[in-house]
């Protein structure tokens, strides 16, 4: 399965500079692992140590938030478009 991942501006420099990259994987977890394999410093911004999605990262498969589709286990099909969208918490006030 090859999906196209749209990289947000804030992560672009750390992930090689491209706005969009093709990544293989059959789940969101696999795609994110592969995406960050070359850039380990970014991995902590996307995934927790236990491999779950970071609380302040929203990931969409074809505009559907994967947090409600199984998180890192959400399936990825060929040609799917994945969007990463970090959100910073405003929860302390």
């Amino acid at each position: 399965m090859t999906a196209s991942v749209r990289i947000p501006t804030v992560l672009r420099a750390a992930l090689g500079g491209d706005a969009s990259v093709s990544v293989e994987g059959s789940t969101i977890g696999e795609v994110l692992e592969k995406l960050t394999a070359q850039h380990p410093s970014v991995k902590g911004q996307l995934l927790n140590d236990d491999g779950t999605l970071h609380r302040f990262l929203n990931v969409y498969v074809n505009d559907d938030d994967v947090r409600y589709l199984g998180g890192v286990d959400a399936p990825v099909a060929n040609g799917d478009e994945i969007t990463l969208l970090p959100a910073v918490a405003g929860g302390d006030r």
Binding site: P8, D63, L85, G91, R93
Partner: protein
């Protein structure tokens, strides 16, 4: 007809209308709650009244006391509703408003006697929130009700919108609404889950990711405190992004069932259709969705009359949620 003592008594108890003619499946009914019927024209009348009532109960606002000032960030409807409530209750309201909201919203705020403080359009609603936070810190005498964090916001929906929906549509299987402050989803969602645990709660989001490049920094993404306080991630069953083109298309299609609605209602309707498309052919479902306001405030966008490509480009630059 009933005779009312005050316009504020007209807030809530809005009608629900069957719009299943737009449903992709004969097994899926779709019903729309018409929040534009509220006196200041939107679902936010419930929130504004609840915020002010709670502040008065807590003694933060005192009716009849002179020179009481409120400040609130709003991309439109909350400001308009608060302006109406403040006008009736004798408070002065300052609304922090992104400079790129539709001109009708400005006019309405001014009509109700509110004062407008502009925040940078490129920073969207988040920029308005930041500026309001800063100004309220610099002016501690101003009352900052802060709809994004005030439990009276979801409480308005928990005590009114949710019960009205269950009363009028007891067979509800799905509730689909927009995610802005998250007040509607948290309040209605919590009420429905308590009374009908099987009901699915769907959130519809505007594509903030698209507005980001060149307009605002993703670092400035913002999770409303009431979303966190109400365990929003656990409460929601699904969250989908609806893009401007789909929003406009479904705003137009709503006229087929006689509804002249605002653009966020088109987005939410598009989300309801996505929801309907997930129902398998051998299942039945009843989706309740929200028409947040009517279309009047959006006429200047040309949403119903202009070429859709032009409207979509324009919609990317203005705030309609």
């Amino acid at each position: 007809m009933t005779r009312y003592a005050s316009v504020l008594d007209l807030v809530g108890d809005t009608p629900i209308v069957d719009v299943s003619a737009l449903s992709p499946s004969p097994n899926v009914s779709i019903l729309a709650k018409l929040e534009g019927r509220n006196p200041a024209g939107s679902v936010k009348d419930r929130v504004a009244l609840s915020l002010v009532d709670a502040a008065e109960r807590d003694g933060i606002l005192v009716r009849g006391k002179p020179d009481q000032v409120l400040i609130e960030p709003s991309s439109g409807n909350t400001g308009i509703a608060l302006a109406m409530v403040c006008r009736l209750r004798g408070y002065h309201l300052k609304v922090v408003l992104p400079s790129n909201v539709s001109p009708e919203r400005r006019q309405l705020l001014l009509a109700w006697g509110a004062e407008i403080i502009d925040s940078p359009g490129g920073e969207g609603s988040n920029g308005a929130v930041r500026l309001a936070v800063r100004l309220s810190e610099e002016n501690p005498m101003w009352v900052f009700l802060y709809q994004y964090a005030n439990p009276a916001n979801p409480m308005a929906h928990y005590t009114t919108t949710g019960p009205e929906i269950l009363r009028d549509v007891p067979e509800i299987t799905h509730f689909v609404a927009g995610l802005g402050t998250s007040g509607t989803l948290m309040g209605v969602g919590r009420y429905l889950k308590e009374h009908r645990p099987g009901v699915q709660i769907w959130a519809v989001e505007p594509p903030s990711g698209e507005m980001v490049d060149g307009l605002r920094n993703l670092d400035d993404g913002y999770i409303p405190p009431i979303f966190i306080d109400n365990h929003g991630v656990d409460l929601l069953d699904r969250k989908v992004v609806v893009r401007p083109r789909e929003s406009i298309e479904w705003t137009r299609r709503l006229t087929e069932v006689g509804l002249f609605a605002g653009l966020s209602s088109g987005a939410i309707m598009s989300g309801a259709i996505k929801c309907a498309n997930t129902i398998s052919p051998d299942e039945f479902a009843t989706i309740v969705t929200v028409v947040c306001d009517d279309g009047w405030k959006y006429l200047s966008t040309g949403a119903w009359s202009d070429d859709i490509d032009d409207v979509v480009e324009r919609a990317k630059k203005i705030i309609y949620f």
